[in-house]
């Protein structure tokens, strides 16, 4: 297996980069969409439960099936992969953002309004910063989850380490089939750990000392 990896180190490194890049961009996009949606719904109980229901049900949709469905309108390639991964990345963030925003002490919001902060300024200066640790926890969960889902994007010929897994699985029993699958899997696990560490660091750097636990 070691020889297998060394021989293909260029390709592995390239696919690993593609994989991480796909995940990071989709998580960023998904988080932005999720936080924006959370901001729209968190003050309305009906909309909040609808959003929570959506994120719970959304997570039960098998990723393989979703990719398959997206094939019809978008064909093979990067587009269906990005749509599917962004969809899954947004769900945990949506749930946490709603919880985080709803968890901000109402008296602080009133205090912000009372000293003359506008609705938008209160959201940006008070509510989102206070909800940030919870939102970031959602981003960590979603990054971990999406690292795995991005592997399946290889099914629609998307970029990333999934290619090693799928090509190995399709030739199971053949030469290097197991090596190929294992390489893809282990690389994804390792990269997921690295990304998680980075997010912990981001959390340390972006959480003000006053609310750090």
């Amino acid at each position: 297996m070691w020889d297998y990896v060394v021989e293909r180190r260029g390709l592995i490194a390239f696919q690993a980069f593609q994989h991480v890049s796909l995940v990071v961009q989709c998580v960023l996009l998904g988080s932005l969409l999720a936080v924006a949606l959370a901001v729209l719904v968190y003050r309305n109980p009906t909309a909040t439960s609808a959003a929570n229901g959506f994120s719970a049900v959304g997570l039960t949709v098998p990723s393989f099936a979703l990719l398959g469905i997206l094939l019809a309108p978008f064909g093979f390639g990067i587009t269906p992969a990005v749509i599917a991964i962004t969809f899954y990345a947004a769900l945990p963030v949506l749930r946490n953002a709603v919880v985080g925003l709803a968890g901000v002490d109402r008296s602080l919001v009133e205090s912000a309004r009372g000293i003359g902060m506008s609705r938008v300024r209160t959201l940006l200066r008070v509510e989102l910063p206070l909800a940030w640790p919870v939102i970031l926890a959602g981003i960590r969960v979603s990054t971990q989850m999406v690292m795995g889902i991005a592997a399946i994007a290889a099914y629609v010929l998307g970029p990333g380490l999934g290619g090693f897994i799928f090509s190995g699985l399709s030739r199971l029993g053949g030469a290097n089939a197991l090596n190929s699958t294992l390489t893809g899997t282990i690389a994804i696990v390792l990269l997921a750990l690295v990304l998680d560490l980075l997010l912990v660091l981001v959390g340390r750097l972006t959480t003000p000392r006053g609310i750090r636990v």
């Binding site: 008296s107 205090s111 912000a112 009372g114 003359g116 006053g210 609310i211």
Partner: protein, 401 residues
């Protein structure tokens, strides 16, 4: 900024009834509520029903009444956190009923329970929020923050960069007051600000507020459910009934002496004679002048001076003249010089504290007296429990006769 000048020219001990009104520096504006009404959809009875009220510039007016009587709703309509459904609100000569609420609120200080400080911002950031919104430059904001920390009795160098959770409840409340005063608003609205702190801290905060108000002369509207607090802090008290009906609007003295309705008498409570204790300030009674000694001076000399004066204790002052402990002569003879240990449990009240506070403080510290401090926390004297007792005797015989 005229309001921050220490009013050195103030008259000597002001009387309890009218605290030096004429010579006071007033930076507040009058507030006029004209038929203000709040009706919530789906409710037959309005929460606030047609209230008309004039609050004079520079006065502290206390809103008291049972919970749910609409006093907080009325307060929040002054800065339009709650929009009135009817009536007009005037600040000074201006009708502010239709002004942009965010702009309006930057001109009205607002203090809530526990200060409402933002936990993710430092003390300095919290205090500087309103000046920043008013586009002051950084240097001016920083100078104002230090000035305000000083005003509320917190050392700027020590507290500026702390986060709210690194402060005690009383300190958070002080920062809350500093933040409300940041842009020098003429009006201060306070919604049960001292409800969440322990009694001794609350009493100190009240003393501070009285002191600050004597310096600044803002128009303060203060909601409380504690009638003693209302009597202590208020120039006038508004007693509300359900629907924010104004039952009585008068000075504390007159409400205690002559309640307008049985309802007010009930609210004031059966202990109204003892409540007169709340009307008498520590500064109004004769204080004892104890033997004092400064930290680091010769202990034997202090002991001799105390014995000559017939005292069995000495009040130790730090180098700025502030009392820090009151050891007995026996304790003092143990060391050659006066020790600089600060007695955290030293019972201290200010000149503007009430006799009620003084008695509370003595009981809490299990001491037979309290140290009284005046301007800049310097020693003003000592008050013995006997003085309070004499005052009780006087009001009782006054009530009987």
């Amino acid at each position: 900024m005229s309001e921050t000048l220490p009013s050195e020219a103030q008259p000597a001990p002001p009387t309890a009834a009218e605290p030096g009104r004429d010579d006071r520096n007033i930076s507040g504006v009058p507030i006029r509520l004209d038929g203000v009404t709040k009706r919530y959809p789906g409710q037959d009875v309005p929460a606030v029903d047609d209230v008309t009220l004039e609050i004079a510039a520079g006065e502290t007016v206390m809103f008291v009444g049972p919970s749910g009587c609409g006093k907080t709703t009325l307060l929040k309509m002054i800065n339009r956190l709650i929009e009135p459904t009817g009536g007009r609100i005037h600040l000074g000569d201006e009708d502010v009923t239709d002004q942009d609420p965010d702009r309006l609120r930057r001109r009205i200080g607002y203090v809530i329970q526990a200060g409402g400080l933002f936990p993710h911002m430092t003390v300095a950031t919290n205090i500087g929020l309103v000046p920043k919104m008013l586009k002051w430059d950084d240097a001016r904001v920083a100078a104002r923050v230090d000035e305000l920390l000083d005003l509320v009795g917190l050392d700027p160098d020590q507290y500026r960069d702390r986060y709210p959770r690194e402060l005690s409840g009383g300190q958070q409340q002080r920062v809350g007051v500093a933040r409300a005063l940041a842009a020098d608003p003429p009006v201060l609205l306070m919604d049960e600000p001292f409800g969440a702190v322990d009694p001794i801290t609350r009493q100190r905060l009240q003393d501070e507020l009285i002191r600050i108000q004597e310096e600044l002369g803002k128009t303060i509207v203060f909601v409380t459910h504690d009638f003693d607090e209302a009597v202590k802090l208020g120039d006038r008290i508004v007693v509300f009934d359900v629907g924010a009906r104004v039952v009585q609007y008068d000075t504390p003295e007159r409400i205690l002496a002559d309640p307008a309705e049985e309802y007010v008498a009930d609210f004031v409570g059966a202990g109204a004679t003892l409540k007169q204790l709340t009307l008498t300030r520590v500064g109004d009674v004769d204080l004892l002048q104890p033997t004092t000694a400064t930290v680091g001076s010769d202990a034997a000399a202090a002991v001799a001076a105390a014995q000559a004066a017939g005292d069995d204790y000495v009040v130790v002052l730090d180098r700025r003249g502030r009392p820090i402990s009151w050891p007995t002569l026996a304790e003092l003879t143990r060391s050659p010089t006066i020790p600089d240990t600060v007695d955290e449990r030293l019972p201290v009240v200010g000149m503007r504290s009430t006799l009620n506070d003084a008695l509370d403080t003595m009981l809490a510290a299990s001491q037979g007296g309290v140290v009284v401090t005046g301007r800049r926390e310097s020693l003003a004297g000592v008050m013995a429990v006997e003085t309070v007792m004499a005052a009780i005797q006087r009001t009782r015989s006054g009530a009987a006769g």
